[in-house]
Amino acid sequence: MTTMPQIRPDDRPLLIAFGFTLVILVIGTGYTLSTTGTMPLLQPSYLMQQLQIGSFLGICAAGMMLVILTGHIDLSIPWTLTSAAMVATSVGGPWAIPAGLSVGLCVGLVNGFGVSVLRVPSMIFTLGLDTVLRGLMVARTGGFAPQDTATPAMLYLAKAKLLGVPVALFVWIAVSLVVTFLLTRTTFGRALYATGTKERAAWLSGIRTRAVVTGAFLGSALCAALAGVLLAGYSAKAYQGMGNSYLLPAIAAVVLGGTHILGGRGRYAGTFLGVVLIVLLNSILSIMQMPEAFRQIIYGAVIIGMLLIYGRGTRVSE
């Protein structure tokens, strides 16, 4: 067979995102060539460094994707991340990382219970839990930046290099592999898509949708906690508000990667590309020394523009 491979509809967002990533690289390289005559964007070491920073966002987005696939949203990411980092650094020692992750475990279970059993809209329940976590952390640290420092294991995971590649990147790739495996090869993955497409039909097919939704929130909170532990390692300490800049980019990355915001559709490769796109966009805007104002405008315009190109969203009413 020598026919052109057909473009499947779910591949469209992926291709568009990939194409846009290339456009960003070309524009950025063109800019650096014209101003300084160098092209850092095409240097592996620079790219690697950008992706190392992007890995924290990537891990958050992986978890967020699980939740969005069920048709919900997790707004508790910022303080789940921060709490995990703070707990990890204050516990210290060999138990630092398990302690941080167990924060994620608890948050995920509570979110899952509130959304799937109590059926509080996820938008408001996760927001409430985020406020509670912030409250707990503020009360504990007394409003000051905690002095606890990251443990050597955390520093290693976040900052060290293995074979010239940052370890954080390996962690991100590991998370990516796990999520891809979950989504494509396990009964949980299938149940997740089914639940997100039509919870009613999935439940009537005998799928335990409450457990599935709880599982998705668990995944999201664990990813946020992991990102928190890594970020604390990267900054060598945990600090207030360290998670604030991860919520909206994570949602944007998932949606730009072609996952439907109402659930049921999307592939992990898209989310990965979405993160790369956002990271590259950010780094080019910093290279251009773009003022924050234009960054925000470009950021918003890119999301709207790409979604309009995807041509999705359905008109309801029959």
């Binding site: 408001i124 009537l204 709207i304 029959e318």
Partner: protein, 343 residues
């Protein structure tokens, strides 16, 4: 009366909760009830009250507007340049500010209706654009707002009359029953009554409720669905701009603060829910959301007078919010046909 309570159970519950909170607040207040305290409380309420009103309209549709905080910030930054000079200039500045907000809302509505994007994600993106514009206008916090205006609008009716020298400087007999009312409260509720209540009584306004309640039936009844959606987002932009305008007058500055904008958006959702408006749409209203905002604020007032560690404030706020929404949700355990739980 009993019917009203049955039909507005969420609103009634919020009213009782607020009354209890606010009454005991005054009882516990070291100086007791005073106009000064009332004025101060009212001032803190206005911006979040307006933003909660803004959020309510898209929520009634069954949507959500994540750009309300950003639009408020944008409006505040615009206002911080325009509210000085002759009275005519100031009035023009106010109109321009409100027009910017309404225009931004209109853009949201057009994107949602004709671009066929989900409101959550569309407004998430336009919110970033609004913040960007705000930063362009005000790279650094600052501003120049007419001092009289600031004084007159953030105090009691008496001070307002005195500033502008009407009703014999506030001493006219007919004004006496009203002199202690804070102007910010009048602005907030006045806007709600003059804009929202009439709007609710138009076909477009009623269509917003109809869409949130049963979109299919609304369409089959021949209601103007696209027009109502666009109007809802435009109105959200307008109310958000009212909040921004007041914030600029109150603080005499415009400040393109991203974190603050996000906090206002999230608090607006909380206020809407506390007021008893269903996030799925169809029931509720902006007055209820003002009440929701008042509850949010009343909780925070306690920290000032009680000997609570202010560091506990976010924790208690979060617990109040979670408890309120979970209490409503416990009725799911009484549902006999489990299919009703799954939409």
């Amino acid at each position: 009366m009993t019917r009203w309570i049955a039909q507005n159970r969420g609103f009634a519950a919020a009213l009782v909760l607020f009354a209890a909170l606010y009454f005991s607040y005054h009882l516990m207040h070291p100086r007791g009830f005073s106009t000064a305290v009332l004025v101060q409380n009212a001032n803190e309420l206005v911006a979040i009250g307006f933003v909660a009103m803004a959020q309510t309209v898209p929520v009634l549709l069954g949507g959500l507007d994540l750009s309300v905080g950003a639009v408020m910030t944008l409006a505040a930054c615009v206002a911080s340049w325009l509210l000085d000079g002759t009275p005519a200039q100031i009035a023009l500045g106010m109109i321009a500010t409100l027009a910017v907000g309404a225009g931004f809302g209109l853009m949201n509505g057009l994107i949602v209706v004709y671009g066929r994007l989900q409101p959550i994600i569309a407004t998430l993106a336009t919110g970033a654009i609004a913040i960007g514009l705000a930063l362009l206008i005000r790279p650094n916090p600052g501003g120049n707002v007419d001092g009289d205006l600031n004084w007159a609008l953030t105090n009691s009716v008496y001070d307002f009359a005195e500033t502008y020298g009407f009703a014999r400087g506030g001493d006219a007999a007919w004004l006496q029953p009203f002199v202690n009312i804070p102007v910010p409260l009048i602005l907030l509720f006045g806007t709600a009554c003059l804009v929202w209540l009439p709007f609710k009584r138009t076909v477009t306004g009623r269509t917003i409720y109809a869409i949130g309640s049963a979109e299919g039936a609304a369409y089959a009844s021949g209601l103007p669905i696209d027009r109502a959606r666009i109007a809802a987002f435009t109105l959200a932009g307008f109310f958000a701009a009212c909040g921004g305008l007041y914030l600029a007058i109150q603080t005499s500055t415009g400040n393109a603060d991203v974190v603050q904008a996000g906090a206002y958006t999230l608090n607006s959702i909380a206020a809407v829910v506390l007021g008893g408006t269903a996030l799925l749409g169809g029931t509720g209203g902006v007055i209820a959301s003002i009440l929701g905002a008042m509850i949010l604020r009343a909780v925070s007032f306690y920290f000032r007078i009680l000997d609570i560690d202010p560091l506990l404030q976010p924790l208690i706020e979060g617990i109040v919010l979670l408890t309120a929404v979970s209490a409503v949700a416990f009725r799911t355990f009484g549902v006999k046909n489990q299919l009703e739980l799954f939409r």
